[in-house]
Symmetry: C2
Subunit: 571 residues, 2 copies
């Protein structure tokens, strides 16, 4: 393949005309040519390097890797460094193998990170455990380019043996270590970074990001579906203030600092989680535009998703340069920045209208091993007329919860939900064969009738259900079991569902179909009285024990402040 | 060691006050502190990372590594990546060991590159040969951070087996490969870069540098004693023109390109060669100032000698950041940029007035194994009254020569120099035990009497001598042998010399003493009629066969265009 075009070179920040020869998926020759205003080139517009999402959990898109790739290339993404943390918690190495195998079937660069924290805590039942031997097995693979986010920062700081061994292995195999250290600072951060943890994607403010970067941590600015930190981190007024104040009282001439106002300061833009309804609208292309709207120089913004991740993870892509993989995007120009075509390894995969490859149909990867439930399984019993209970209070769009309490009526020995005060039942049903059930109460969902259930519940992905009564909760959970995973909404008359039969996390359908079903479910939830924008996402984080204050696992109600289980009924 | 100060952070381009704790030579804690205009800090001024010269041959300073370090720290240099190519040509591994051993005695970071081309060509006698096994022996060492400049680019391009093996070994041991490819472009450059040769310090024009960078080569801008390329490469008008023309005819808004005028575009500043009389005046500190005078942003210029080389060669220095070696410089501010103090590994090595460490006295490393010469050894015989000869024509400050010719008188069967027409004798005397002598003629030195000789002659460093008659040439060479190397000027009355008894390349004295003696020699040469600014340097390059057009080795007169020996006397 040989053609002429103008390219953006992110090594020199220049645009030049070139005759480009691609062989075996690689830029074989790029020879500068003279271009005049009226020179006719084979490809019009501007070639920019294909975008790289340096940190994403593909499972959050509810799509298979191949279906994810089909959406991503529409937006100019040609590579991801993905952490199959969710499926690893469900199916272990087998799940990771599934992701790699499926990924290998499409013209898209999937680089993988070895999940470092499976299970996330010892306070829940997961489908698999990855010990340091498993991590070593993964790190040896060529497809694995990093040790994935080390969420167990207390383990790092306190020198947990297994944790340190995993970090040591990453160094042994010369694979960078990704971090995850929300709000950690000072000597604790020092200890974390001392273990060669060199990225962080958990910064939620400009100041947190700067302080971490001063420690040598590379900052991933997160612009995803669950966490949207870009607004805070790229805020233009913060950047102005920063450079105005950073002249050391005259040690540096202020024009030198002023000149930097368009600098992004930080290292990468990543999505972390990207839900299907967001993914159909845009990916890193939208993030670049958003950064530019916040005053970041567009060429610098492009580097955050091309050159920077490629050099950090040693990927042979990220620049249009001889010897690199021929991954590139044709945009109209750097102002409108519309994606006109996308090429992966020299192959056109999106022509501006059509996605030029198919995703293979995959067989289900059933991961649900739970017996059918009855309303009895969801009962909380109490000997008396009324009792005081601990209640999880959740908030729209937030991962954190607070600890509330309520007085509830007891009927026939069963503590009942209180719909008038929005105190609903919440349960986590173990789905890996142990059949544990933990029952508790939650405030914030606002359901007036029915129940909603899901097999997506971070990080162990047991079945989680919120409902107005035990009967409907049992129906919802049983439907999840029938569907081999997914989302379900039931009330007395109807039952809506989205099946996620691949590990209870992913669909076999494409992004448009999944989004459409999700929209239907959201509407149904609203009809039942639910006040949350994204009830399934909010519910999914109710089992994420590492985020305070009150959460629930299949083992019981968990106090994230004291890091121990507590009783539902107060004494 | 614990103190407060303001630091320049090259990761965020910011200046901030911090409490800094250094332990075991490493930044242990750097905690931001609030600084007001009148806050009293322990260290005034601004801390910037210590400078790194990413490519230098220490031998060119005529100083031992330890003596070099004493000068360098005065100018804020705390690290070098040095290629002991000269001493390797003279003494092989033993010479490299000497350099490492001597370097280890002082508080300064000497990183070494393994010489890749010893000898430089098969057309000369060197003191040693480093084959791929020797290179592997070196690459295994921790002190070796790279494979040094691969000067044999024809060998790379033509796939010479030994050359490819050396490159392969560098990849095996994960050490970057330095390049040396003057004026190479197009497919030849592609082939060179294909072998993972990723730096080049031979660019002599802005365009050459840009074209190489478009190929993915990192550019070392050279600001040394022999080669001064910075003026061409950082030329402000070139940079303006470049960014004005690089907007793809409107694909990129012109303000985005205009904003880049202060960008250095390229990657490193290096000195390559630094003579003692230059070194006492300045090093990378002067280069930074010079770059700033040419419109380069000072913080970006600082990165060229700190962050960039450190990350390229994986050195744990180059930024004032927790975990890095505590190498830093105190400057007054970023305008005057005066070096006030220098610290290496947390130790103050220069306090603004005094260098705070000594260089160890070293025993001589005699490398001269040549018998004493008589005038007869330098005779060129011819049977006749007159003959036509090939003449090397040299130019002030240039490495290249041209091919001239002259008609010379023959007296008693000996072809004589012609002082009126500046046709002098030049000879190369093998000094490693073989006792070859090659005699020829040279134009351009302008000596009216006497002879000058040197044991510094690239790259094999045999004894080279230029003189008005054979008798004086023999005296000059014999004095070199007595001195175990160095520079000598003789005439009928006097004999001046600078001894370089360490491998015939380096002195045991300090930079000031060596410079002073060099100044005396330069004056003496002028008195004898020599018109060259740096006669010993010009002479040293007359034996560098790889630079055209006519050169001389101990094996004879060498035509650098046809790459073969030619006769002195024309037929």
């Amino acid at each position: 393949m040989e053609f002429t075009a103008q390219i953006l070179d992110v090594l020199t920040d220049s645009v030049y005309g070139a005759r480009i020869k691609i062989e075996d998926g690689v830029f074989k020759e790029i020879e500068p040519i003279k271009v005049e205003k009226d020179t006719k080139l084979d490809i019009e517009g501007l070639l920019v390097p294909g975008f790289i999402d340096a940190h994403i959990h593909i499972e959050s898109s509810m799509l298979t890797p191949a279906q994810f790739a089909r959406m991503a290339v529409m937006h100019g993404t040609t590579s991801v460094v993905c952490d199959p943390h969710e499926i690893a918690n469900v199916c272990g190495i087998e799940g990771i193998d599934f992701m790699m195998e499926n990924a290998s079937k499409v013209p898209f660069n999937f680089y993988f990170a070895a999940p470092s924290c499976v299970p996330a805590t010892p306070f829940e039942t997961s489908g698999a455990i990855l010990d340091s031997n498993d991590v070593e097995f993964l790190l040896k693979k060529d497809e694995i380019v990093a040790l994935a986010e080390m969420m167990n920062f207390p383990g790092v700081i306190n020198g947990d043996e297994e944790v340190l061994r995993k970090l040591e292995l990453a160094r042994k195999y010369n694979k960078p270590i990704d971090g995850h250290a929300p709000l950690i600072s000072g000597k604790e951060l020092d200890k974390y970074v001392e273990q060669y943890v060199f990225t962080d994607h958990e910064c939620s403010s400009f100041t947190e990001a700067v302080v971490k970067k001063w420690k040598g941590v590379k900052i991933m600015v997160r612009d995803g579906s669950s966490a949207k930190n870009m607004e805070a981190i790229f805020d233009l007024s913060e950047r102005k203030k920063f450079f105005e104040n950073q002249n050391g009282f005259g040690l540096v001439p202020s024009e030198i600092m002023q000149r930097r106002i368009h600098s992004p300061i930080f290292d990468f833009i990543v999505s972390d989680d990207k839900h299907p309804d967001d993914l159909i609208k845009g990916h890193l292309n939208s993030s670049i535009k958003k950064a530019v709207d916040m005053g970041v120089d567009i060429i610098e913004a492009i580097k955050l998703v091309t050159l920077n991740p490629a050099s950090h993870y040693n990927l042979k892509t990220g620049a249009i340069v001889r010897g690199a993989k021929a991954d590139f995007v044709v945009v109209d120009n750097l102002v409108d920045f519309n994606i006109q075509k996308t090429y992966v390894g020299g192959q056109c995969v999106f022509d501006g209208e059509n996605i030029l490859f198919d995703a293979p149909q995959v067989s289900e990867l059933n991961s649900i091993n739970a017996t059918k439930k009855t309303s009895k399984d969801f009962e909380i019993n109490y000997d008396g007329d009324e009792c005081e209970v601990n209640v999880i209070e959740c908030y729209n769009g937030e991962l954190i919860t607070s600890k509330a309490s309520a007085n509830l009526k007891v009927e026939d020995g069963v503590v009942k939900a209180d719909l008038d005060n929005d105190i609903l039942k919440i349960s986590v049903v173990e789905r890996y064969g142990k059949n544990n059930i933990a029952n508790a109460f939650i405030k914030g969902f606002g359901l007036k009738k029915g129940a909603i259930a899901s097999s997506v519940a971070h990080d162990s992905h047991n079945i989680i259900v919120v409902g107005c009564d035990e009967e409907l909760m049992a129906r919802a959970v049983n439907k999840i079991i029938d569907n081999k995973g997914g989302f379900v909404i039931v009330d007395d008359e109807s039952c809506e569902s989205l099946s996620l039969p691949i590990a209870g996390l992913m669909s076999n359908e494409d992004a448009f179909e999944v989004s459409e079903k999700l929209t239907v479910l959201h509407k149904s939830a609203k009809k039942l009285g639910c006040e949350l924008d994204s009830p399934f996402m909010t519910m999914a984080f109710m089992a994420l024990l590492v985020i305070p204050s009150l959460k629930i696992s299949d083992m019981g109600l968990f106090d994230g402040d004291s890091f121990e289980f507590i009783d539902v009924i107060k004494n």
